[in-house]
């Protein structure tokens, strides 16, 4: 599955759009497949654990159901040449979760700004004019970005430290961060299918646990 480009992108000449009947049939077929349903619910749960504001506001059922509805109502197109049906649902869930989280985060920040800034003499920073006055980031924004990057680096280092040094999962970890594709990694490590998926399972397990732990902190 490659759900990195789903359906928010404009149609291109070679795109093959699924017909209404094909979409309906695929939804019905997937609804009857227990393993696929499990994968989708687990994926929804994983995506929610990566959001800062949305988790706790909606459940994995809500996210999956909203994505399926968007697909069934053709608000999200299925370009069959780019992605399979499961990849489409994952991609739509990812996009929905990310958009909703961004909106929630923005709303929360604005609410906090108004109440906090009004009392400490920095109220003028909340003015829209203050936001358009400069071209580059303000010192405060630059500091926040630097802090965010430092937090991310620490998180990656902490996650890496949890993997056994001799575990091929650690090599997958490093090669993924070096920008290699899964196919390239498997070839480079010379692992047979079972060995590769087993190592990938351990890595994904660490990533999942890490996301869940961060979400509950």
């Amino acid at each position: 599955m490659d759900s990195s480009h789903i359906d928010d992108e404009p149609d291109e000449p070679g795109d093959v759009l699924a017909s209404d009947a094909e979409v309906d049939a695929e939804v019905m077929a997937t609804s009857r497949d227990a393993m696929l349903r499990r994968r989708l619910v687990k994926g929804a749960s994983f995506l929610l654990s990566r959001t800062s504001k949305l988790q706790g506001t909606c459940t994995e059922e809500d996210l999956l159901q909203t994505a399926l509805t968007a697909i069934l109502e053709r608000r999200r197109k299925w370009k069959k040449n780019r992605v399979d049906f499961i990849g489409l649902v994952f991609g739509v869930m990812k996009s929905l979760a990310s958009n909703a989280d961004r909106i929630l985060a923005k709303t929360t920040v604005e609410t906090v700004s108004e109440s906090v800034l009004a009392g400490d003499g920095l109220g003028e920073l909340a003015s829209p004019l203050a936001n358009i006055a400069g071209d580059g980031p303000t010192p405060q924004e630059a500091y926040s970005a630097k802090e965010e990057q430092a937090e991310l680096d620490a998180a990656v280092a902490s996650l890496r430290a949890q993997i056994e040094p001799n575990d091929p999962a650690l090599h997958i970890f490093d090669l993924l961060l070096a920008g290699k594709s899964k196919k390239e990694i498997r070839e480079q490590l010379g692992l047979i299918s079972n060995e590769f998926w087993s190592a990938d399972r351990r890595l994904s397990r660490h990533v999942d646990a890490f996301a869940t732990k961060r979400g509950t902190e």
């Binding site: 599955m1 609804s31 619910v41 999956l64 069934l72 899964k182 998926w197």
Partner: protein, 133 residues
């Protein structure tokens, strides 16, 4: 982190069933609960879509009915126009095997009011014919 997240999502969607089930077990996921949630999500989405489709069909039927009512209102009032339209509709009705009885009378013998009723009946009959829609 995005690369690692995407990789984990790829594992969740594409790993062989055995590895995926082991992953769920290690994560402490309750498989029965996942199944229940999956069924519920699909059930609600499919029902919602079905309801919307039925609603659209009902709306279409109401629009057809309104169009039919509009057409019956548009039956001409002028006798010559009425006679011409009645003749035309009679011929079309005969071609599709649908007719309204004139009770052994000629069109020209019908008074205006009956002629309008005859035309309106033929319009309704022919418009409701599914082969003509």
């Amino acid at each position: 982190m995005d690369l690692l997240d995407d990789n984990a999502l790829d594992f969740i969607s594409n790993a062989p069933d055995g590895e995926f089930m082991k992953f769920l077990e290690e994560s402490g996921d309750d498989v029965a609960e996942l199944d229940r949630k999956g069924q519920a999500a699909f059930g609600v989405a499919i029902k919602k879509h079905g309801d919307a489709k039925r609603g659209a069909l009902r709306q279409q039927a109401a629009q057809r009915k309104a169009a039919l009512a509009q057409r019956s209102v548009e039956v001409p009032t002028d006798r010559l126009d009425l006679l011409a339209l009645a003749k035309q509709l009679q011929a079309r009705g005969a071609a599709i095997g649908r007719a309204v009885s004139l009770q052994h009378r000629e069109l020209k013998d019908l008074p205006d009011e009956e002629l309008r009723g005859f035309v309106a009946e033929l319009v309704a009959l022919q418009t409701s014919d599914p082969t003509k829609e």
